[in-house]
Symmetry: C2
Subunit: 252 residues, 2 copies
C-alpha cells in the first residue's frame, strides 16, 4: 500500500488513502456516508473523474459501498483481504505473531469452538501426511469470528506422533501458534501449497458461518512442508465467500 | 510431482502415478473403471490401505471418481489444476509458450468468442491503470473451452495508447501472447497480483459457461505490473468453480 511519503501516488490514490485513514481512525464509522464527488472536488481541488476514482478504490476494496442516489457509505462489514503469501512469512509466526495478524488490521478477531482431539486419519489426509496404517492424527477444529461475524471454519490435521506432548495438542498453542511449535520440534514449515475450490455450503457449514442464502464457500486446503519435503500439517478451511478477498502477489 | 526415478515416493504414490500415467496414455479413457483395491493389492503386492490411498490420490486430484458399489472410474471431466505462480513465470511466456500450456497438460484447449475493441475505461479499471480523464482501453474478451466444456471467461484491459499498433490489438496476439508483446514494447510484466472472490454467476455467465445449477463462479482479477510498478493490464476472469482447482505454491 502507498505510504504518506510516497509522492508517486496518483491523486485519486492519495484521496482514497486519506479517506481510508479516516475510516480506520473512526472518523467515519460503519454505515456512515462518505464525502461525495462534489465534496471531494471542493476539498482537494480535483476533477470529478478523480473524485470518482478515489471513491471507486474504496468500493473495489470492499471498504465502502454505493447506495443508489444516496452516495457512498462505509460498509457495515467489509470483506477481509487475505494476503496468501505475506501472511505465512516466517518472520510473522517466527516472531510470535499469529498468521491472522496480517489480515485483520485493526479489526476484532475471536477464535471460538476450539476442539482438539486425536482421531483416525481420514483417507486423503493419511495419504498426504504419509502415515502408516493405523497412525492417528491430532485434529484441531476452530471457528474464526471477525467483528462478530463468523467468517471461517478451520480443521488442521497433524501426525499425532509428531506433536505428542507439545502445545499443539492443547487448546492454546501459544505465541506464534502451531507453526512456531512445529519449528521448536524441528519440523518448521518452509513451504506451503494452497489449493482453492469453491462450492455451495452444506447446511451445517451455512449454519456455523451464519451465511446468507445464495452465497458459496471458498475451500482452501493448505499443506505445510518441511525443508525435507515432508508434509506436516493439512489445514482445510471453509470461508464465507462474501467475507473474503484472497490475494496472492508474486513475481513473473 | 514425483518423477519415475524418485525412489522416495511412498508406495501408494507410485501406484497413483502409474495409474495416472495409464489414464494420460489413454489406456483408461473417460468413464472407464479403474482397477479396484483387490486388483491393485494383487498387482503391486500391497496392503488394502495402500491400494485405497493410491485411488484416493486420483480422486482428490479430480482425475477419478468413486461410484457407490461400482468402483472408481476415470472422470468424464476432471477439474483443471491452475498453478497460479508457475504458469506466469517469465520463462513460460518469454519463450513463446502460452500461459495456459502449464495448466492443460495433454488436454484440448480452444479459445473462442475472441473480441478486441477500444472502449472507454470502466471506473475501477481507469483508477488502477492510472489513466487520465478520457483515456481509452484496449479490451480483449475471450472464452476458454477445455475438452469441449467452456471453463473460463476472460476480459483484459490495457491502456490503448500503450498497445496501439501492436498485435495486442489483433485477435491473434502471436507467440507468448499479450505478455510477450508487452515485453517487446518495453513494458513486460515482472509482478502479478491475483485477487480471488467467489459468488453465484449471473444468468449470462452461467449460459456462456454452460454451468450446472448451484455452481458458483470464481472471479480472479489479475493485475500485471512492470518493474517501475506501473499496472499495464487488468484481466478479470470468471471460472466455472466446478472445473477448477487453483493452486498457489510458495515459501514461508
Amino acid at each position: 500500500m502507498a505510504t504518506a511519503g510516497d509522492d508517486r501516488r496518483p491523486k485519486y490514490q492519495r484521496i482514497a488513502d486519506t479517506l481510508r485513514e479516516s475510516i480506520r481512525s473512526g472518523e467515519y464509522g460503519p454505515g456512515d456516508r462518505l464525502p461525495g464527488e462534489n465534496d471531494l472536488m471542493a476539498t482537494h481541488g480535483v476533477a470529478r473523474m478523480t473524485a470518482r476514482q478515489a471513491l471507486s478504490v474504496l468500493r473495489d476494496e470492499g471498504v465502502a459501498e454505493a447506495r443508489k442516489g444516496a452516495g457512498v457509505f462505509v460498509r457495515e462489514f467489509r470483506p477481509l483481504r487475505r494476503r496468501g503469501i505475506q501472511r505465512l512469512a516466517q518472520q510473522q509466526w517466527g516472531n510470535g505473531r499469529s498468521v491472522w495478524a496480517v489480515d485483520i488490521e485493526d479489526r476484532s478477531l475471536e477464535v471460538d469452538r476450539v476442539a482438539v482431539s486425536e482421531e483416525a486419519a481420514p483417507e486423503g489426509v493419511a495419504a498426504v501426511l504419509d502415515l502408516a496404517d493405523g497412525e492417528t492424527v491430532c485434529v484441531r477444529r476452530r471457528r474464526f469470528v471477525l467483528d462478530g461475524k463468523p467468517v471461517l471454519l478451520a480443521t488442521s490435521y497433524l501426525p499425532a506422533a509428531l506433536v505428542a506432548g507439545s502445545a499443539i495438542t492443547q487448546e492454546d498453542t501459544g505465541k506464534g501458534g502451531t507453526y512456531a511449535r512445529l519449528a521448536e520440534l524441528g519440523h518448521g514449515p518452509v513451504h506451503f501449497r494452497e489449493e482453492i475450490r469453491s462450492r455451495m455450503p452444506s447446511k451445517g457449514e451455512a449454519d456455523q458461518l451464519g451465511m446468507a442464502a445464495g452465497t458459496p464457500v471458498i475451500v482452501i486446503c493448505r499443506t505445510a512442508f518441511t525443508d525435507e519435503g515432508r508434509a506436516v500439517e493439512i489445514n482445510e478451511m471453509k470461508l464465507d465467500a462474501a467475507s473474503y478477498v484472497l490475494e496472492y502477489d508474486f513475481d513473473a
